[in-house]
């Protein structure tokens, strides 16, 4: 999975990235999501029915993911004006949402922002991230649905970027 550009992702940028995801929901659906308290989760990532992964690299390589329940994804599609809502369509839409968020991030950070093409998976499919990595996860409350926004950093990221 080739990465783009040379600049690393530090914690301030990660925080901005999280905010960009929230902004996407607010702007495209006119309904602002609420982030729950963050937690560190150990073991296999807690994923819902559909998940979009965005891989970034640099000094702190890792992944950001957004996970949706099927009802949440359907509501989102309805809000976006999409009538076709079969599972394949939902999966594509989740990938598309991750793509838009990535584009917004590149717009914000500049073209040197190192990020790969997003990957969308359905529940039960192989994860694009290594097993056993701790996750930094927020619960998302949106339109009475619950989703998950997570960050997974590679082990070599266990150093605060200067």
């Amino acid at each position: 999975m080739p990465a783009i550009g040379p600049s690393p992702m530090d914690d301030a940028q990660l925080a901005v990235f999280v905010q960009l995801i929230c902004n996407y929901f607010s702007a495209s659906t006119r309904s602002t999501p609420q982030l729950g308290s963050p937690s560190i989760e150990f073991g296999t990532p807690r994923l819902l029915d559909y998940t979009g992964f965005i891989r970034f690299s640099g000094a702190s390589p890792g992944w950001i993911y957004i996970s949706f329940t099927q009802p949440m994804a359907r509501t989102l599609l309805t809000k976006l004006g999409e009538q076709q809502q079969d599972s394949e369509m939902i999966r594509d839409a989740v990938g598309e949402i991750a793509s838009i968020v990535t584009s917004n991030a590149r717009e914000h950070f500049g073209s040197s922002f190192r990020v790969s093409l997003p990957i969308a998976i359905s529940k039960g499919e192989d994860l694009p991230i290594p097993e056993g990595m701790p996750q930094f996860a927020y619960d998302i409350n949106w339109e009475s649905h619950k989703g998950i926004l997570g960050i997974v950093l590679a082990p070599e990221a266990a150093v605060l970027p200067s």
Partner: protein, 318 residues
Amino acid sequence: MNPHLPYRRTSACSHVGAEPLLYYHDWQLLEHCDGVKPASSVAKDLGISEFAITESLERLLTHGLIKAEAINYGDYWHASQSHGKKERATSANAERVAEHKAMLSAVELVAARIAQLEQALTNALGTLQAHTPTAAAAPAPVAAVEVPAPQAVAPEAAAPATAQQQAAPLAQRAPSALPTRAGVTSGRGPSPAAPVPPGFAAGQPATRAAAPAAASQPVAPRPQPQPAVPPAQKQTQLPQGQQLKPLVDAIIAKAGGGTKGQLAVYRVFLKVPSHMLAAAGLGKLSLIDQTVVIRDSELWTNIVRAAQEVAGLDYSPV
């Protein structure tokens, strides 16, 4: 990683030389991973505790020495037939296992008796302190019960701090803190002559089993009745436990607070060995309202060290 699945040795087994260093029972388990029998069942036969087997599997998986195995019925039938023969051959060792278990029980009884005596001693000390306030700060009785010397504290805080320090190490040696890992491992003693697993050159298992046992101390050749608790084990349990929240808050503050600080905590935990977190039952750590208490001193040391390395935080609990 699921201990109820069967695991098979991978081709990596034939490439390992003197490395990696594993515990004695890790090698035992590896030797018996035939891809048919669930690991939990193998562990039971070997007398390895459920706790130890989980850690063993994780270490073997980490080194790529085993993988979970799914087989068809034909393979199962053939493997189970040969496995049956092997089981019959090893049944002669059951008596020896029973002997080791009996020895373990004896050691635990001695440990329990020592714990009772220590409790009585603690009570006596408490009574003594209540009647003679100056005795609390005296170093002599502290040394007699192997309590660490009191830290430098303000005079007004000296008495309660000393009392706490005296109670702590004694509680570490209570029977509940004794048990399984080092005790069971050392109690098992050397394994009976076992068949050489496929993929190993002749004579290698014994060499491999001996090397990690010598390098790391949890495996002793034979249990001796005198030492109720091995010295290393005295430090594995924090009697009162350490609240994680003050440390987490300190890391967050040190890293600038907010999401940045929370991500710093996350980076700290990236450096803590996952098997230790799993052993402590730590599945999720809330960064706002967590109330986790760490009781494993090794885990606590690792977290504090990681906080120092990642966030430059020199943490000493109040």
